[in-house]
C-alpha cells in the first residue's frame, strides 16, 4: 500500500521558474551572445583595403604645426588632394629608417600644394615625440593619435605604416613597414597626382 502512496506524492505539481523570469533570463542570455558575436566580428575585421573610401577623422597637431593655416586637419576636407598618412612613434626604430626619406619627399611636393603629408603619432609620449620630430627635421604636420582612435579606424598592425589616399578619398596604396628609399615613395605618389 505504501508503494501506491509514493507515486501519488511524486506526481504532485512541481513549482517551476516563473514565466517572466524565464523570459528575462533568455533575453539576457541572447543579448550577451549578440554582444560577444559583435565583439568577435569587430576583432576579426580586416584592415582597410585598397579602393575603400577612408573613414573621416580629425587630427589635432602638436603645437607649432599647421596645415592650410589650421592647427588640426579633417580628412574629408582634403578631397582633390593626394594625402599621405604616416603612422609612427618615437620608440619605433624602423620608423627612424624612413623618417628622413619622408621629410625629403614632402619637401619636393610641398610647393605644388597637390599633396598633403600627415604624421600620426601612435601611442607615444609627447616629449619623446617632439624630440623625434626635431631630430629628423620633420616639417609636415604631425599630431598624437589620442585614444588610438585613428589607428583603430585604420586597423593598423604596427608602426610604421603609410597610407596613400587618392583625390577621391579612396585608399590607393598601403605600405606596411618602412620605406627604404625616396624613389619608392615618389613611385606611389606621382601616378596619383596625374590621375
Amino acid at each position: 500500500m505504501s508503494e501506491e502512496l509514493i507515486p501519488e506524492t511524486s506526481a504532485a505539481p512541481r513549482r517551476g521558474v516563473p514565466a517572466w523570469a524565464q523570459v528575462i533570463v533568455w533575453v539576457a542570455l541572447l543579448s550577451l551572445l549578440a554582444l560577444v558575436a559583435f565583439g568577435l566580428k569587430r576583432s576579426q575585421q580586416k584592415p582597410i583595403q585598397v579602393g575603400d573610401t577612408l573613414p573621416d577623422f580629425t587630427l589635432s597637431f602638436f603645437d607649432g604645426y599647421q596645415a592650410m593655416g589650421k592647427s588640426d586637419l579633417q580628412l574629408s576636407a582634403l578631397r582633390g588632394k593626394v594625402v599621405v598618412i604616416n603612422f609612427w612613434a618615437s620608440w619605433c626604430k624602423p620608423c627612424e629608417q624612413e623618417a628622413a626619406a619622408m621629410q625629403a619627399v614632402w619637401s619636393t611636393y610641398e610647393p605644388g600644394g597637390q599633396v598633403v603629408f600627415v604624421g600620426v603619432d601612435y601611442v607615444d609620449t609627447e616629449p619623446e615625440a617632439r624630440g623625434y620630430l626635431k631630430k629628423f627635421g620633420i616639417t609636415y604636420p604631425n599630431g598624437p593619435d589620442l585614444g588610438t582612435r585613428i589607428s583603430q579606424m585604420f586597423r593598423i598592425t604596427g608602426v610604421p605604416e603609410t597610407y596613400f589616399v587618392d583625390k577621391d578619398g579612396k585608399l590607393a596604396f598601403a605600405q606596411i613597414g618602412p620605406f627604404t628609399t625616396e624613389a619608392e615613395i615618389h613611385a606611389i605618389i606621382d601616378p596619383l597626382i596625374k590621375k
Binding site: 502512496l5 509514493i6 506524492t9 511524486s10 554582444l35 620608440w91 601611442v123 609620449t125 585614444g147 588610438t148
Partner: protein, 160 residues
C-alpha cells in the same frame, strides 16, 4: 645704520626665496611609487603586459612619464585618466565603470547568483523524495500485514 637695515632686508629676502624653492621641490618619486601606478596600467603596444614589468623602450618612456607626473603632484587616478585619454581605455587594468564596460562588473555576479539558485533548486529536488518517504513511513497507519505480525509476536510471547 640705514645701509645695515637694507643689507639685513636683502639677505632675509634671499633666504626666504631659497627656502621657498627648497620647499617647492618634491623628492623625485621612487621606482616603487612609479611601479605602483604602472601596475594598474597595461602596455598599449604589447598586449596583456602590465606596464611595470614591460621591457620595451616604449614602456620605459611611459614609466618615466608617470614619474614626471608624480613629481608634478598628480595623483594615481589623474595619471590613469591621462593615460586612458591618450592611449584609450584598453590601457587600464581595471575597465572604467561606464558604457558597455559595466557588463564586466554586472554579468559575473548575476551569473553566480543564477548558478547558486539553480544549485539550490537541484539540492531541494534531490532532498524532497527522501523526506516524503520518511514522512510516509512515519504516518502510514499499520497495514494488514502489520496486524498479522503483531499477532504472531503476541503468540510468541505467550509461548515463551
Amino acid at each position: 645704520m640705514k645701509r645695515f637695515v637694507w643689507v639685513i632686508l636683502a639677505v632675509s629676502l634671499l633666504a626666504l626665496g631659497w627656502a621657498g624653492r627648497v620647499a617647492a621641490q618634491t623628492p623625485a618619486p621612487s621606482d616603487d611609487e612609479v611601479n605602483a601606478v604602472a601596475r594598474e596600467l597595461f602596455c598599449p603596444v604589447c598586449e596583456n603586459t602590465p606596464l611595470d614589468v614591460c621591457p620595451t623602450q616604449a614602456c620605459a618612456q611611459w614609466r618615466e612619464l608617470i614619474r614626471t607626473k608624480l613629481a608634478q603632484g598628480w595623483t594615481s587616478d589623474q595619471i590613469k585618466e591621462y593615460f586612458a585619454a591618450q592611449y584609450g581605455a584598453r590601457v587600464l587594468a581595471e575597465p572604467p565603470r561606464q558604457g558597455l564596460s559595466w557588463l564586466v562588473y554586472i554579468v559575473p555576479p548575476v551569473l553566480i547568483l543564477i548558478g547558486g539558485y539553480i544549485l539550490f533548486r537541484a539540492y531541494q529536488s534531490m532532498r524532497k523524495p527522501i523526506a516524503i518517504e520518511a514522512d510516509i513511513e512515519e504516518n502510514t497507519p499499520p497495514s494488514a500485514d502489520d496486524s498479522y505480525l503483531r499477532k504472531v509476536e503476541e503468540e510468541l510471547k505467550k509461548r515463551n
